[in-house]
Point group: C2
Chain length 329, copies 2
DNA sequence: CTGAAAGCGCTTACAG
DNA sequence: CTGAAAGCGCTTACAG
């Protein structure tokens, strides 16, 4: 089947291609009668403009790049879903890039830029200076998703991780808990460092000793580390984990040893992914509204792409709350 | 910063643009000395060809569309990761489409086609005749992911759901279990219908009565349905659920009522997503190697895109096995 | 092995 | 309000 071209439509409608193009891109500039006639033919023939030609001629592709470190985390897919719904609303299409070695690989960012996108939504686990220097001079707007931008050139959308961690920790301290364990990633993730800061600040203010387990992102390694922790005779009153999966692993392991949750041990996650309601007991979480974060990042990016003069990149902080469930009392 | 163009490279190297283009696309056609000189300049200037111009001129975009119904399922993100890794290997970039109303909306498929892709990887929950008629006459190859193609025009990659369900059911029957409950979706999903068939066939052969719960994809609704089931005094020996999340919900609810898993009740999922090892006890699963399914689908698509004459679409069936964990004895 | 030239399918000032 | 024409940045037969 031959995809019809703009020439075909113009021919069938008895107008020039310029007019067909206008009907599609600036309908208000075309007389209603002409417009309706052309529109009808477009519909009948199922004509859809060739995206490459359009992008080349207009220098706009109505495509944005979404750059994430992995897809193997529930939080990332929820974020992309948020981005997608917003992109769809604004008429943008998504080009997906999964890469976690941006700091070391300048070629990759160049490929993203050259792939003809009008803007980039960027999620990176560690916003190191290498990463910043690599994305320097990107010719299209970039918005950071789920991390705060330290450079006024880029917008960002995230929650206040430091404050959220502080709040939940303080909340538990006020309830009288003293032995509060913090479980985080071994690897340096920007968001987790912020969470750790908040936790430490609250513990310090409460005159309590911070206790931290640093472990991997992999469930089987988590379990080894947690087992070792329990084997040494440790039992915290509260475990606060930067990821739901870690919280759940920890909780499951404790329960297998006969520790009652939440009676003897309270467990709290810091994401509120889909995992949280599939655990037993259901996991109390500091909510990270990652769908909304993705959604708003795409909105901001749209503003930046469509009104570059009037819009300045901003650091949006999304409000979040604690979702109390069964793993706390 | 000014992105350099092919003209800039040609100028700097003292050759024509044709030669620069050849260095990039057909390096073997260029004398080594020239090639090296041009390559160096390309590297220094960080030149990357404009994707739109390239796509327009060559009629190939090295982009494939990945069409999925949602991102809110662990299985879908694992599949996309599999697709991505393969696409990356073959030099393709991914354009992501999330849409679950393809049957009703002809416009959407047209947009996917017009978005300038060289091929389409298509995952759809219900491969209805409306869907088939909609994708009819697609000018680029289409490969179905995780569902079998009934039309020789399209390739497909999936497991044998019917046989897998039959096998696990038969396996449990041979172990002496008689009351085997099948938990599936209310909504018509092609893969789940196949699983149901296999389950029924095994039950029939074993002279046992099939018992089926049809419920929603949402955890809170699942729970209501399961609660009602237990409230009526039911207790199966085995529960086999088409999705891990359902299996886990069912198991958790049972345990809250004091039912011992796996002693009194064995539970089996039919996906083996990341959820499976976060449950307590860990979930026995019929593995659906969804990463590999995505991976192989992209490989097949690449063949179809690059050697359209020599390659015929095929229905690949991926082998799968049962992963025995703690939720069975 | 290399260059000149046509063409991919659009958009958009510029005239009228 | 509409058309003729230039141009977007490449690729690829076609010559040589």
């Amino acid at each position: 089947m031959h995809q019809s071209k703009i020439y075909d439509i113009a021919g069938a409608a008895g107008v020039s291609l310029a007019t067909v193009s206008r009907v599609i891109n600036h309908p208000e500039k075309v007389k209603k009668a002409t417009r309706d006639r052309v529109m009808n033919i477009i519909k009948n023939k199922g004509y859809i403009p060739n995206a490459n030609a359009r992008g080349l001629a207009s220098r706009r592709s109505t495509t944005v790049a979404v750059v994430v470190p992995t897809l193997n985390r529930a939080s990332v897919s929820e974020m992309i879903q948020g981005i997608y719904d917003s992109a769809n609303h604004y008429g943008y299409t998504i080009r997906l890039f999964i890469t976690d070695n941006l700091g070391s690989n300048a070629k990759e960012w160049g490929e993203i830029v050259a792939s003809s996108v009008d803007g980039i939504l960027f999620m990176n686990d560690e916003m190191s200076s290498e990463v910043y220097s690599q994305i320097k001079n990107t010719p299209v707007p970039v918005v950071f998703v789920n991390s705060v931008s330290k450079d006024p050139e880029y917008g960002s959308v995230c929650i206040n991780n430091e404050q959220s961690a502080y709040n939940i920790t303080k909340n538990m301290i006020e309830k009288g808990r003293k032995k509060i364990l913090f479980i985080t990633t071994e690897h340096i993730y920007t968001v987790n460092i912020q969470k750790e800061k908040g936790y430490k600040r609250a513990m310090e203010e409460g005159g309590l000793t911070a206790e931290i387990i640093r472990t991997s992102g992999k469930v089987n390694i988590n379990e080894e580390d947690f087992r070792a922790y329990f084997d040494s005779g440790n039992l915290p009153e509260v475990a606060l984990a930067v990821r739901d999966s870690m919280a759940i692993s920890f909780m499951n392991l404790a329960q297998k040893r006969g520790i009652k949750v939440p009676e003897q041990l309270e467990v709290i996650g810091f994401q509120n992914t889909r995992y949280a309601i599939l655990s037993n007991p259901k996991l109390t979480c500091v909510d990270t509204p990652i769908y909304e974060i993705g959604n708003r990042a795409m909105s901001q990016l749209t503003e930046l792409m469509q009104k570059p003069e009037e819009t300045k990149p901003i650091n949006e902080v999304v409000e979040n709350e604690i979702i109390w469930r069964e793993s706390t009392r």
